[in-house]
């Protein structure tokens, strides 16, 4: 049973436009969410996170939105740049003694075209 779902395997956008990556989760115990970015032949790198007590967190060009009632989060990248082309993973965790374990989605490949 997949608890974190990224239903779009790929997304293509033009440079300068907005990229919106979506993530859904089924486990209502999750209360912390993260986005990771991964380039080919490299390990994932942390991008941005959000706690369930918030509905928005912003860091430069990256904003994460959380809709708890819909069990949905999204990552907005504005403006998109060619260097943003990578696989983006959504991850979730819960604070109830999980040893900070993360459950990852399958990832979305973002391609930003010049």
């Amino acid at each position: 049973d997949q608890q974190v779902k990224q239903n779009s395997p790929s997304l293509s956008v033009q440079e300068g436009r907005i990229s919106i990556l979506n993530c859904d989760y089924t486990n209502s115990m999750f209360d912390y969410f993260l986005w990771y970015k991964k380039y080919p032949a490299e390990g994932p790198t942390f991008l941005i996170s959000i706690s369930s007590i918030k509905d928005k967190n912003e860091d430069g060009r990256f904003t994460v939105f959380l809709n708890k009632s819909a069990k949905h989060l999204s990552l907005h990248i504005v403006p998109s740049q060619p260097g943003d082309s990578a696989v983006y993973f959504c991850a979730a965790s819960w604070s109830g003694g999980s040893n900070y374990k993360l459950t990852f989605g399958k990832g979305t490949l973002l391609t930003v075209n010049p």
């Binding site: 993260l34 996170s49 900070y100 374990k101 993360l102 990852f104």
Partner: protein
């Protein structure tokens, strides 16, 4: 970036042979994790450690064992490699927070 390395970076081995992958971190992080990445599956947790000699299973632990004798080292062992264990393996570490820092990965091919 957290100082986390993995060795070897690439390995080809035969079915039935034992394989050990090493993860080394220099950040004094308490928590360490082993994941595998496969097409169509994303990152799946194999085993994790919450302290020296303290380990537990993740979601895909069958066929794998781990050991952590020092804070900085976390070993993943495939006792008898199978073709289904062909994958890219990532190690990660973290302190008491949700952010995990990943190594560069080990590409393992079992023939």
């Amino acid at each position: 970036d957290a100082g986390i390395t993995q060795s070897p970076r690439h390995k080809v081995t035969e079915t039935g042979t034992p394989v050990t992958l090493r993860c080394h971190q220099t950040e004094n992080h308490r928590y360490m994790y082993w994941y595998r990445q496969d097409p169509g599956h994303g990152l799946r947790l194999i085993h994790y450690s919450y302290g020296v000699k303290d380990t537990d299973k993740g979601e895909v632990s069958d066929g794998y064992s781990v050991s952590r004798s020092k804070t900085e080292d976390f070993l993943l062992t495939l006792e008898s490699a199978t073709s289904s264990q062909t994958s890219v393996y990532f190690c990660a570490s973290g302190s008491s927070s949700y952010e995990q820092y990943f190594g560069p990965g080990t590409r393992l091919t079992v023939t």
